[in-house]
Assembly symmetry: C2
Homo-oligomer: 243 residues x 2
């Protein structure tokens, strides 16, 4: 029986989503819980995608095949009673045997929160504590250049060369509410560090260090060294996945 | 030179505000930072009041006498460079030598946040994860009985008998925004566990287990055993202090 799990986590105390030997990861915690429920058998979970160290998820999905007979309600309850308090299964749904949590994703949404006001010790793991005002109008102009289909090579941080960096961004917004600036990107998929690198560049625009138009040139350059600093992990949330 | 410090903290990883031997407390962290700045001299900080283990403060004050010559801006910066990231000095102001951070308080405000929706792993230290709907209308009726001057003995948890439990509550509100219920109390002072015990009783009203009117009787009874469970620490914030 194949289940699709919808889950959320606080990434603060994890070395990211994906299992790594000797590190505390979200996948390991989920698979430990699954193994307990699935009669002690190793039970791999195939997630929508990875998130890096310190990144949070309000809405992440994964599919898993269970050998034990268990219904949706029992599955959710059993998972949550075996998970640590910073990981939570929101929903467990049975799906077709050929449903794939990664390959069938149509759209993903990421949100990035920046505190432009006074440093807030309660938000240190949940918003980038930038603590200075930003030129939001310039950032709003700049973000438009990310819309559409582009080769995002200039915004990817990866060890090995990746062949295909072409992705489509369907929505890109910046809003300020009190002292929090929220940047949202919605697209067919995102490359490693892509969102944090785009945010890093938008912050440079917001600091009036480069004009909004420079985003277009940097995209076209396909040169990672041009796009500047990666924004820190703690402001980033995986917020939506659409199948 | 007497300074009044305004500070905020995330109480999640502390055994409360007040220094206790062998425990990690907010006061100890603040006084360690003060000692470093004040040429290694023991430098006591007199705070507005204590907060318990796991309780947060968005706005807490304390006065301190410094022997070194230091201005307000330097004082704030020096404190923050010596404090851990979950405690932050918002403002450092010089005050008259007879200003007292505890005795001169006119009004304090506490806020209590309850998540009545799905369990949220990102809020586990910041809102009480009640995760069931509450009857807000009944709670709004019930909270009115706390307004005014009363003997709050039925809502105090303390080892030793306290003589004076008479306090005045000037404002008491309950609001729901999406899945968060926020209860706010403003008054001349609050006794130990008083806010969390009042919230505990309001939750019983919200569960339709007791009628709103019973709050009046329980107040009059002056009997702690009648007011029920103490709400957990993680939802509570000291939000305002007025001098």
């Amino acid at each position: 029986m194949r289940f699709l799990l919808k889950f959320a986590y606080d990434g603060s105390n994890y070395s990211g989503y994906q299992i790594q030997p000797g590190k505390n990861t979200i996948q390991e915690q989920l698979e430990n819980a699954l193994k307990k429920i699935n009669n002690g058998e190793k039970t791999p979970l195939v997630a929508t995608g990875r998130t890096d160290k310190g990144v949070h998820a309000l809405c992440q999905y994964g599919h898993v095949d269970m050998n034990v007979k268990i219904n949706e309600k029992q599955m959710k309850r059993a998972m949550n009673s075996n998970l640590p308090p910073d990981i939570h299964v929101i929903e467990a749904k049975t799906v077709a045997d050929d449903f794939h949590a990664r390959y069938q994703v149509k759209e993903k949404e990421y949100q990035y929160d920046i505190n432009v006001g006074e440093y807030n010790p309660l938000e240190k793991n949940y918003k980038f504590q930038y603590n200075h005002q930003l030129n939001i109008e310039s950032m709003q102009q700049a973000i438009q250049y990310f819309l559409g289909t582009h080769d995002f090579r200039a915004f990817v941080t990866e060890n090995k060369e990746r062949k295909n960096c072409i992705r489509t961004i369907k929505k890109a917004t910046i809003k300020q509410k009190k002292e929090t600036v929220t940047i949202t990107f919605c697209g067919d998929g995102f490359l490693r560090y892509q969102v944090r690198n785009m945010v890093g560049l938008l912050i440079r625009v917001g600091e009036n260090k480069i004009p909004p138009q420079s985003v277009e040139k940097i995209l076209e350059s396909k040169d990672r060294t041009k796009s500047g600093k990666t924004a820190p992990a703690e402001g980033l949330y995986l917020t939506k996945v659409r199948y």
